[in-house]
Amino acid sequence: MLEIKNLHVSVGDREILKGLTLTVNDGEVAAIMGPNGTGKSTLSYVIAGREGYEVTQGEVLLDGEDILELEPHERAAKGIFLAFQYPVEIPGVATMTFLKAAMNAQRRSRGEDELQTPDFMKRVKEAAAKLGISQEMLRRPLNSGFSGGEKKRMDILQMALLQPKFGILDETDSGLDIDALRVVSEGVNALRSPERAFLVITHYQRLLDYIKPDSVHVMAQGVIQRSGGPELALELEERGYQEYLGEEAA
């Protein structure tokens, strides 16, 4: 599904990713864990195509195709979805207008017909109900005045509607209470399928109690330091990241 090969990324003069290599297979949920400031969010932004990150070396392949030259919307149309650590508020843009524009933009770039309003409404209602998103929330401007948990649920709603191939969850657990964490995790779990893969980025083991990963990767100092199964997350929870920090910690 997704192959990252020897990825080097700089912001300004500073190299953040220093030769990161990672493969996520079809149907796999891969967790990336690591200390703060180690480049986890950078990785998610580079995959999604945000401006301001310079890829100096390496490749990111989605189903064998290098996506690094593509614009963010083109990557989205190919099935990349980033659930943001901090979903932005967009006052003045109605949530429903945005949802419809996003769904139809992706359909257009894939050469599919646009959704008709009744079909669109039905899909939104069903998906929103599962995530406990009220009609009132849908009537507000996008994420405006939403709590942290509401914003995360809105992001998962978008993921459910857009049905991506590859979902990246960037610290989705941050700022969530236990109830919201459960709702959001159930939303993600419902989307797990053999044709879809996820990259779950988190600092804590807690999220992985709800979204059970197939593989766990420790990221520090801009590279994957170690890979293993779900048991690795528990070990990290117990022993911390100290041993992966090398000279930076000294």
């Binding site: 999604a48 195509g49 945000r50 401006e51 614009e71 963010p72 919307h73 990557r75 989205a76 149309a77 979805f81 980033l82 943001f84 979903p87 932005v88 967009i90 006052p91 003045g92 843009v93 207008t97 945005f98 524009a101 996003a102 769904m103 933009a105 992706q106 770039s109 401007p141 978008q158 857009l162």
Partner: protein
Amino acid sequence: MIKLATETDAVWSSFFEEMKGKGASGLRQAAWEAFNTKGLPNRRVEAWHYTDLKAALAKPAPIAAVSSAAPELPRAHDSLRLVTLDGVFRPDISDLSALPEGVKVQSLRDALAQGAPGVMALIASADVQTNDAIVSLNAALMQDGVVLRIAGGLTLDRPIELATFVSSDEAQSSFTRSLVILGKDARATIIETAGALAAAPAQDNQALVVRLASGASLDLVTHASGQGEGLVRVMTLLAHLDEGASFNSHALIEGAGLLRRQIFARLDGERVKVSLNGATLARGRQHVDTTLVVDHALPDGESRERFRNILDEQGTGVFQGKIVVRPHAQKTDGVMQSKAVLLSDHATMNNKPELEIFADDVQCGHGATCGRLDKDQLFYLMARGLPRPEAESLLIEGFANEAFEGLENEALRGFLVSRISQWLAARS
């Protein structure tokens, strides 16, 4: 100091000679003297610092000739329309016969000829209170306009549109003045349309006087658009608001040449509510100026001002807003906000909010921002699949639409929003 008469002064004098016999000679004479004392505003006049009208009107165009042509006028609303064309009210192309009972319409010319004291006082009121040279010029040279009276207690179920068009292919000046008078507890929606049918460098000076009796409620929806780089248009709105009145104004100003909209709102009674909102769009070398003064004269007033400026290419925007709270106006609650988004490196915004507070128990605030489209918002939308132009348009629309959130008439809000979409679709 001796004031040297210039060629331009001579042209204005000839205009005054042409108009001074056409009713209200005392008012015209006083206004003419006031105008002559001040002269056309240039950048040294503080209220006109960002808009050099003296330069823009260096060559005054002749006053529009009275014409009986009846061109096809674009109709954008389900409204009862009263048309002023090239400075003259045109009953023949207006919807007079459909006006409901309790609504009276008279041409300004007839009102001036009759000289009824109450109406004359209102016609003159703009000049007494604003001390603005361009309003004085308007009074000295006013050709025509509409005097619209809505009886007390009446609720209009269909908007009335005051549509002012300039149509000539030649450079012409027009000076119009209209009045909207709502009786006690009357409720109405008025659409103010300012358009241009040709791209000639018209010089258009409009004044609209609004008078709300106690408890009256008016929604004013203004839409200005035009053609051609040479258009110079000043639209002055003067609102007198009595006790318990409610005045909501929403304006979409599409740039064309140079446009200044100035609002002088005076809260003459207690518990008045005023909400002034607008979005302006400017591109090319267009210049759009919104200048307003909200004058809280009596207690318990509430005013809200919300303006959005969208500037592309070499467009220039100006927002000057002043909230005055006089000593008696305790418990005044005022919030003024102006935001601008610059879509190009060459666009300019001048933001100048001011508070003048002479009472001690008030809540007033203002905020002004100016910036680019938010990169985080843009990336968020693009990451969801929207191509950049579409993502930008959605953000700009959202930004502009905030100015119209308080407009209850859905058809009119939809119209304003659709105009913004059309403007965006034409972005190069």
